[in-house]
Amino acid sequence: MVNRLAPSSAFGLVHRLGHHGAVRPARIAVCERTDLALASVIARRHAERALATRIADTFALALPVTPHRCEAGGVAFIWAGPGQWLATAGGEPGHRFEARLRKALAGLASVCDQSDGRAILHIAGPRARDLFAKGLPVDLDPSVMQPGATLVSAVAHIGIHLWQLDALPTYECAVARSYAHSLWHWLEASAAEFGLTVAPE
């Protein structure tokens, strides 16, 4: 009888837990989210409207057509470009979420598991905006971006998909898994002056 394979942290955070930087208490808290199932959803040709209806019926949420995130019952659709979304679900294996979506959206969208394609950081704290200012060429000021909004951009030459959850502010940031270490290196260096806590999930 073999043991199941153990999953690894994309960011190697198991070795980085605890406090970093000079300021205490830390003004930024980070953890990796490995519990989220992710799937890219791309509308079939001319199927966007029908897809929105299907998603409204199935998941009881309004599919965003502008850069926003909509969540209901643990499932969220995050705008990722015209006709494209990143769908997320908590606590479900990625392949099962993909299968569920494929079934629900059959004929209306192409669905592809990305639960391991993207690594997700949960970043919260009063200085989180100042952290992103050190790499993200986008204005995160509350007068411009509010909870529920999302953006696709790059930090330190690494593509990211960012969404804001609350006004603390709290963000989640998706990055191609292979770039996770490089992104982390930038983040740790940039957040250190504000004090950084790395927490287990």
Binding site: S8, D116, G135, Y179
Partner: protein, 999 residues
Amino acid sequence: MLDKTRSRLRQAFRLDGGGLIDRATALHFSFDGRQLTGHAGDTLASALIANGVHLVGRSFKYHRPRGIFTAGSDEPNALVELRSAARREPNTRATTVELYDGLEATSQNRWPSLEFDLMAVNSLFAPLLGAGFYYKTFMWPAAFWEKVYEPLIRRAAGLGRASRLPDPDTYEQAYAFCDVLVIGAGPAGLAAALAAGRAGARVILCDEDSRPGGRLLSERCEIGGEPGHVWADATVAELESMPSVRVMPRCTVFGVYDGGVHAVVERVSDHLPVPPPHQPRQRLWRVVAKRTVLAAGATERPIVFPGNDRPGVMLASAMRAYANRFAAAPGRRVAVFTASDDGWRTAIDLAAAGAEVVALIDARPAVAPELRARLPGVRLMQGSQVVATAGGQRIGSITVRSGAATETLVVDSLAVSGGWNPAVHLTCHLGGRPVWSENLAAFVPGAGLPPGMTVAGAASGALTLARCLTDGTQAGSDAAAEATGHARKPTTLARSDDEACAISPLWHVAGSTGKAFVDLQHDVTADDIVLAHREGFGAVEHLKRYTTLGMATDQGKTANLPALGIVAALAGRAIPDLGTTTFRPPYTPVAIGALTGHHRGKSFRPTRRTPTHAWAEEQGAVFVETGPWLRAQYFPPPGETDWLATVSREVRTVRSTVGFCDVSTLGKIDVQGPDAGTFLDRLYINTLSTLPVGRARYGVMLREDGFVLDDGTTARLAADRFFMTTTTANAGRVYQHMQFCHQVLWPELDVQFTSVSDQWAQFSIAGPSARELLSLVVDAPFDVSDAALPFMAATESTIQRGVPARIFRISFSGELAYEIAIPARYGEAFAARLMQLGRRLGVTPYGTEALAVMRIEKGHVAGTEIDGRTTARDLGLGRMMSSKKDCIGRTMASRPALLDPDRPAFVGFKPVDATARLRAGAHLIPCRAAATAANGQGVVTSVAFSPALGHWIGLGLIARGPQRLGEIVRAVDPVRGGDIEVEIAAPCFIDPEGVRQRG
């Protein structure tokens, strides 16, 4: 107590009262090893002046003694090396260096010492070193230039020395966004920021100084009945209380770019001995502003006269700054030489500070009587000019000419005032050209301002305090209204007076002898300009390059306009007719470190790590960069020190038992939709739409021009779902190509695709025992038999108790092989599991090197063959091209030149002498022909030592190669000196029938 007394004694030129320094805080510093003290609030320059130190450096070319000329970032002379060892920083301006306790400064460009500089002998050769001397004196013999003249000149000239050690500090970059960016925190900038902030706009106020206030800190002036600096402090306090306003001192806006983007360098830690923990030394900001108010002020310009470079000669406004702001007396016996009312303020302020004003020398024949009344008891020499100075390491006397008479005055310093130049630099960064103001005798901002920018205060030519405040308030209010769309709010204005600022320009005191310096930093004299004009280099852009005027680190801030004045007089033309040279970023020098930010060393660019990276590190793998990826190149066990031995062992193990390799770096693209097959048919030269579900097929795709773009295998997972792979190197490019084809060429196709390169950890398991290892890995009841999983089969299953997996029976090594893809998070654990399960079979991990050896042995093409210059036909893949359908590049691939039978075509090579080493890149030449480019028939593209064959083998392209099998040619490698005979062979060296992979 003793210490305090001593420090006060040493600061012999520190004024007893006044100044914006903290006298309670003594700061110790050293200059050329001399221990000195200053106070918090000092710059290095003001502290030196307070200590009576005026000789600060030696000039660039003639090594003449030089002192402190300005009190700001326009300083051409007082350049010093700051700090030591790895933090040594050359060419820092003493006038902008904030004093800190323990500061170490060293003069530069002198040997053996600042006071006694042997290189000053250059002055004797001055006749040889004039304008354009590079082009004349060192012309003959030509061969001497590179070996003799240039090294000599470079040693003799130049200024500071770089540390040559890695910079121990960090730098970072940041973005900021605002409605209104105000550049400069002088009276106009403060007024603008205040108006914009009170109007509710998001405001950023940048100033290069450590303390906001601009000239308010250096002038004796009043705003609303209070000293100007008090008003400045109160204004800053109000601004800092507004949550939407960010005041950024020590921030120089050095460039303006499209889209309201401004480049700003923040000197975060330059005023500290070392940066605090987790703080960078400098930070590069990109400030994106909807509106910009440029309130950069103006810089004073000198008058050019013989001996004007002696230490103790200083701009008049700088003397006021040292006396008023820093309470440091620039001298005890001072003369003022001016062509404008502004110089009078210096005389008045210095007299008030207790200095003896020996004479006020005004070049103008007459001045306003009310001005005269403000300076009683000082000798006024009207219509007079300074024609010479004398002194050793500091000015000792000046010679003044009044009409026909000359007179020598004993002085220890001389203030010079030639008028003010508005700081138009940033207005020109997007193509704007300044225009001439007759009134100010200076250039002011002209048309073509960067979009969204307005100019206020002295930068616009409004030189008086009252106008700075009015203009600034108006500009700030307007900018806020335009940026936010809110209505303008009425603003209250602080009261102040307009001061006298009349000027009659004087550029150059003519008719005198002796070196009169125009560009102090580059040692360009008035005679050089005369010479350049005489030799036909009088146009401003020619003048600049011929004389190097304005090309030093100060970019000629104090030099350019006097030079124009001199040329205009020579040419008999007006200054505006001559124009100016181009103002380009950066406004002041910026350290490369700040531009680099986080991206240096290992962070130069982001690195992609494979899912098994950490595991491979534990195994002691040697890594190699392949594109953005870091991949395991080979796995040397302890004791194995020769890379070739390791690689050969890995290859032999795979070919005899079993090995595995992380191939996750291949580009992986999930293609779905009803038209997915059609889409792939149009991309690949062969047909993919006929691929049955559960099967994989090799494909080749072309660029539009008919050359091969990439290759890889594609598997069909469902009727409407394909899983295609690309080479590691071309993954991004192919994805981009597909996006272009879909979005632009065939938007009608109902196809969706997304990159899944990062989703899957993919392993190649290869070797005669691969099936056995696979059977240990998969979950029951998966059937690994050849019948159930034949060559080129593709299927989905689970492994290791439920981990979803895709299993492909494809082979790059030529062995019985499988590729297993599992979710990337399990990659690391799976590699360890394969080692554990395969131990009994003698499994080995193998890296990119063994992978390459085996593909060369099998004659598979890779990046060195698919180099953008080869067609499918060249690579022996021409028969894959389907004649039943069209595809990208098909038509262009049939151009006659690409069908030429003499084109180099793909074959293998083996050395005639089996012990000879073949080199990739070697040129293929017929045996009896000379080794010249004209005789080249092709190149060796890939080589490997084949452990199975026991000798080196190669792949490459040679004219008509496939028809020349068995022929002997030479492989000539001029780079490494190789010249060996090789036999042209079929590219597949091992198991050409493919029995093993189908086993």
